[in-house]
Symmetry: C2
Subunit: 397 residues, 2 copies
């Protein structure tokens, strides 16, 4: 049988990260390539206890069909929590519980864009989202990242030039892969530009609650007086990713379309996971849990950065991070980044070549991404020594 596939998926490739992840999940590899939260950060004992209690007292609630919008108590609690803690969500907004945050990107692309429409993205950006957009045949236009977020001149130019731009995709906090946090000034400017050009914003915030240094900045959604922002939250980095629970806070009209499209994908999100998320937020010390994890991530990130400085400096540069799971590392000009990452894998250290995150993977790129939350401290130590050796060999040539 000769299979003919839809145009939209013909050119779609498996995510380079997940392919590398599969390869390097073999024992013996140091998994700097992963994006897993640290397992010691999971509230496993609380989840076990809540789950046992749920199955003892209300098993049918955890097993029967539920409604597409999501588990009502979780929706209500999250709505109040996000309003109080982050000033996110107004009367015109509504909340949808999704099967992980990536579903928000996929559904937003599906409801807002016709094939050939444009999404304006930070360049580089998270490949899972980029591929979600690509899977609807959308064109991606990249706006270069600076140390404080997107280059606003380029963004405005893109908005001026692109008549079919439908939304701007941003990860304002500890962006994946660059680790960059957008300044307050740029958040305001982003919102103004979106308003002026009548283009929506998709704000993806999986890492906001991992901040271990510095001060929180207001979400772009907190500025949203006009119903321009779809906000995407996730429990993957603050509770457990295997549960696959995320959410969208979106203007009512957009919300309604997201619901209809979610209905035909998976009817609703696993209800056990939704109930556990709700009970964990309301019956356990949720803010204390976040705080504890921030301390853990801070220690681990600082440990990694110290080893980076010791073994890879002065050849490899990076912007120090205050949260998130990733370091974006730049090799000196003249070094072949792809060859470097390949040789690192030969030495059993897996990183992600930076080009995987570009709008156009064929463009030159001197960067690679390091994740510090998956490997153990011993692996980080060993991995940095190996990378350091490789860097010295490569750069001292």
């Amino acid at each position: 049988m000769q299979y003919a596939f839809a145009d939209r998926v013909k050119s779609l490739k498996p995510s380079a990260i997940r392919e590398i992840l599969k390869f390097t999940s073999q024992p013996g590899y140091i998994p700097f390539s992963a994006g897993n939260p640290a397992p010691e950060a999971f509230p496993a004992a609380d989840i076990a206890r809540l789950s046992a209690d749920l199955f003892q007292k209300r098993p049918i609630d955890a097993l029967q069909y539920s409604i597409t919008e999501g588990y009502a108590p979780l929706r209500e609690h999250l709505t109040a929590y996000m309003k109080e803690k982050h000033h996110v969500g107004r009367d015109f907004d509504n909340i949808l519980i999704t099967s992980g945050a990536n579903q928000v990107m996929e559904l937003t692309a599906k409801v807002l864009c016709n094939e050939g429409d444009m999404v304006i993205c930070e360049n580089p950006s998270f490949i899972g989202s980029l591929n979600a957009f690509r899977s609807y045949g959308l064109r991606l236009r990249g706006v270069e990242m600076e140390a404080d977020g997107m280059d606003m001149e380029s963004l405005e130019q893109a908005l001026r030039e692109e008549k079919r731009a439908r939304f701007i995709y941003t990860i304002p906090n500890f962006q994946n892969p660059t680790g960059v946090t957008m300044s307050l000034e740029k958040r305001r400017r982003l919102y103004e530009l979106a308003k002026r050009y009548g283009v929506l914003i998709l704000e993806d915030n999986p890492y906001g609650d991992t901040r271990f240094a510095g001060e929180d900045l207001p979400c772009v959604k907190s500025l949203d007086e006009d119903g321009l922002v779809v906000y995407c939250g996730s429990f993957s980095k603050v509770m457990a990713p295997g549960m696959r629970v995320g959410y969208a806070i979106a203007p009512g009209e957009v919300f309604s379309k997201l619901v209809v499209c979610k209905q035909v994908v998976d009817v609703h999100t696993n209800i056990w996971a939704q109930i556990i998320a709700h009970r964990f937020m309301t019956e356990c010390d949720y803010d204390g849990h976040l705080k504890k994890n921030q301390v853990l991530y801070g220690q681990k990130a600082r440990f990694t950065m110290e080893l980076m400085d010791r073994h890879l400096g002065p050849w490899v540069s990076y912007q120090p991070i205050e949260g998130g799971l990733f370091l974006w590392c730049r090799l000196p000009g003249g070094v072949d980044m792809q060859a470097f990452c390949k040789e690192a894998v030969n030495r059993k250290v897996a990183t992600v070549p930076g080009s995987a995150f570009l709008m156009d993977e064929g463009q030159p790129c001197q960067c690679f991404r390091i994740n510090y939350s998956t490997p153990t401290d011993a692996q980080i130590q060993q991995g940095m020594e190996i990378l350091g050796g490789l860097v010295r060999e490569t750069c001292a040539r």
Copy 2:
């Protein structure tokens, strides 16, 4: 803000069933409109025990990110089980675990069809699947249902006429909503026609294991020598729908595209649910559980059909069922079906107007759908009395 939505979703309406379900989940309504499996059929105690054991011994496995294809032990076990029990799956096939079965329909439409392509469907058919196809801007062509499945003459005519037909969608066992099971002869004919016209088959089999009378017929997929059939299975009717676990067994090339597209929707299916499904199948008496549920469904279905005969006969006709969750009930000509269903809701009995399942909801329809697995026996008794009263009033006029 004036929102502009994608063409594909502009005309997409929320599923009539789920809207009715929302309305009638208020206490006091008799929920013949639902599609929930009977809660007493859930293996709640086993799931509670397996879940507690899992969180005690391997909590991280149940909480960390996993791979898109699905939990490897579940994939391996299901592959062997489906091969042995149903002769489903060959060397060229591969298995993908999905977040419920509807995801298989949504992904299959996404990977196989461009906008404007055609899906040939049984008419009437399951609205969740129809809306999944509609959500990609696909045209649906209905083939009328007979007592032993699709009208094969009309199917061939459709295949002859429609150059952009991409696949044929069928629920061969206890079809939703008609309850019809396709004869073996028609299964063979369907396969031959698909082969001759080079069109794939999407075989959706959520109800096969609910058979409480008669003999199992071979799956269409068991005839698949040529890689023409995407088979879709589900745990929703045989374990618990709130877990949202389904699967596709598809030819390798199609499987690969399904994986890439699933990756951008939800990365992977809730891993706790996948592990529990695997352990329930392998550590508990799975076939004994199916058998027990078949007895339960048989009793409940026969009870419902007896009451139908007593209270709604001779005015309302239906084809007796041997499995599945639904009865397809036909009102006499001249009776306004929509008005009938509306008045039933006024009397606190919710059914689903049959037109919801048509390719073209505007076509005339004399049928409505009854679900017998959600209401209690007392509700069935009371509901049939109320419907009976309404039928007598309406038909004796």
